[in-house]
């Protein structure tokens, strides 16, 4: 599945594919529990990494991007179970992606493309 030709979009962030799939949505940067209220249905969750308290967010988001973590990190296990596109180990996603930025999370190839 390809939403639009990728060569017209800018690659912003790359990482390891933890759960395959493609999602489109607005980025929401979550640094701690105090940011949980920012998350809206269909957002792409951008975090350093997740812990079990994030359980209340997973049913709201369309995809997950983490800065650290491997194939068996918390975010990876959750996303594979729920079928959410997820890339992990991006290194600096929170620096590059901003709240509200529209992106395509291509978790087939491990790339986040900007739509703006």
């Amino acid at each position: 599945m390809k939403l639009i030709p990728y060569n017209f979009m800018k690659s912003l962030v790359t990482g390891l594919v933890a759960s395959k799939g493609i999602a489109k949505g607005n980025c929401v940067i979550v640094n701690s529990v105090t940011d949980f209220s920012k998350v809206k249905k269909g957002d792409i969750l951008v975090v350093k990494n997740t812990d079990p308290s994030y359980v209340i967010l997973f049913s709201r988001v369309a995809g997950i991007i983490t800065e650290v973590g491997g194939m068996c990190s918390h975010a990876a296990i959750v996303s594979r179970e729920m079928g959410l596109p997820c890339i992990v180990g991006t290194g600096n996603a929170r620096e590059i992606l901003k709240d509200g930025l529209k992106v395509v999370l291509d978790a087939e190839q491990g790339i986040v493309y900007g739509l703006e």
């Binding site: 079990p52 308290s53 359980v55 209340i56 650290v68 068996c72 990190s73 918390h74 594979r80 179970e81």
Partner: protein
């Protein structure tokens, strides 16, 4: 342990470690929590196994451990590294350490049906008869798209509850994820996975655990057309999303009064909601603890891993005061030191830490 088995052990461990990133462990990694007291922990278990070995065979001792992953986690958590430190410090002999470890792994061998170290990415706890019994007695329900989502939410909610009570590194105290078993059901081939959340109310550790309404929950899941793997640390991985490939499911609950019930799938959402709420509160509670309190609780959770074993031997399962004294002396220093090392562990390091040919031997 003979050399073939040792090779299996390292292959399996390396495969599992290769997929992890210890920097992401919540609320801290094994080195951060266990390094100040692992020698005491290993000494206690060593002495207890030596005593047990005089009266029981490995086969008889299997009843003291509910699930196989407890033995796997304890071995790699503190036991092997602690034994090596005890040998280095001339507290025990190499031969006696080997005896204890061999006996421990013999118990694991007896506990499982095939490979004890989850090579080939399988955690095969049940034998064919037990699986046939599951297929005959469990009331599987074919799931639709909505129910797939409901079950998926329940899985993540219960995982999160277990993670929140036992920290990332001791999860097997509350959970065994076993399979995949290749089975035939209603004339089709499936992969059976059993998620056994066997201790969801560890009130001896956390008062908050009393808020959850179920002692244990088992999920029996039949998947089609997906390759599912489980490694030494019960990490799961799959080539496709699990949710959309779930074909049949059954949810068996044991409530606080001990009543067992197969729950209709369309009625399990309140269980998931309760688990999510308690997990959320529990993680936030732990996060606001002082570091030293997190380590002290980590030590209690670590010792809780062997509660059933120590209960059976008539020994108090709680850590001895010595453990808390060591944490007071060295806990914060070790927490910080291992935090700075919290990066991907290479297979080479794994072999140095857990291998017989190497001696980690240098106290930090």
């Amino acid at each position: 342990m003979d050399s073939n088995k040792m090779t299996d052990f390292f292959t399996s461990l390396t495969n599992a470690i290769d997929k992890t990133d210890s920097g992401t462990f919540w609320p801290g990694g094994g080195g951060q929590i266990g390094s100040s007291f692992l020698k005491v922990d290993a000494r206690d278990l060593h002495n207890q196994l030596q005593a047990l070995k005089k009266n029981k065979t490995a086969s008889e001792a299997t009843t003291y451990f509910y699930n196989p992953s407890t033995i796997r986690y304890v071995a790699v958590g503190n036991f092997i590294i602690g034994l090596k430190m005890l040998i280095r410090d001339n507290i025990i002999t190499l031969d006696s350490a080997k005896e204890s470890l061999d006996f421990f792994f013999d118990i694991l061998d007896q506990k499982v049906s095939t490979d004890p170290f989850c090579l080939n990415n399988k955690n095969i706890w049940f034998n064919k008869n037990q699986i046939n019994q599951v297929l005959n007695e469990v009331n599987f329900k074919k799931v639709d798209l909505v129910e797939q989502t409901v079950v998926s939410r329940l899985v993540i909610a219960l995982n999160s509850l277990v993670w929140s009570f036992y920290y990332d590194i001791y999860v097997e105290s509350g959970f065994e994820f076993h399979g995949p078993y290749s089975v035939e059901y209603e004339n089709n081939e499936y992969k059976l996975i059993i998620r056994d959340y066997h201790d969801l109310r560890p009130a001896a550790l956390w008062e908050k655990a009393n808020n959850f309404g179920y002692k244990s929950i088992k999920l029996y899941l039949l998947y089609s057309d997906v390759n599912i793997g489980i490694d030494y640390f019960m990490h799961e991985f799959s080539d496709k999303p699990l949710r959309t490939n779930l074909a049949f499911c059954a949810v068996e609950t044991v409530d606080t009064a001990g009543n067992t019930k197969f729950f209709p799938i369309n009625e399990v959402t309140p269980i998931a909601e309760s688990a999510e709420e308690i997990a959320f509160e529990q993680v936030n509670y732990v996060n606001q603890l002082e570091t030293i309190e997190k380590i002290n609780m980590g030590a209690r959770i670590c010792y809780y891993q062997l509660k059933s074993f120590r209960d059976a031997l008539g020994i108090n399962w709680e850590p001895p005061q010595e453990v808390f004294d060591l944490i007071k002396q060295k806990g914060l220093e070790r927490w910080e030191k291992f935090k700075s090392r919290a990066e991907k562990i290479s297979a080479g390091v794994a072999k140095i830490d857990w291998g017989s040919k190497y001696d980690l031997a240098k106290p930090i």
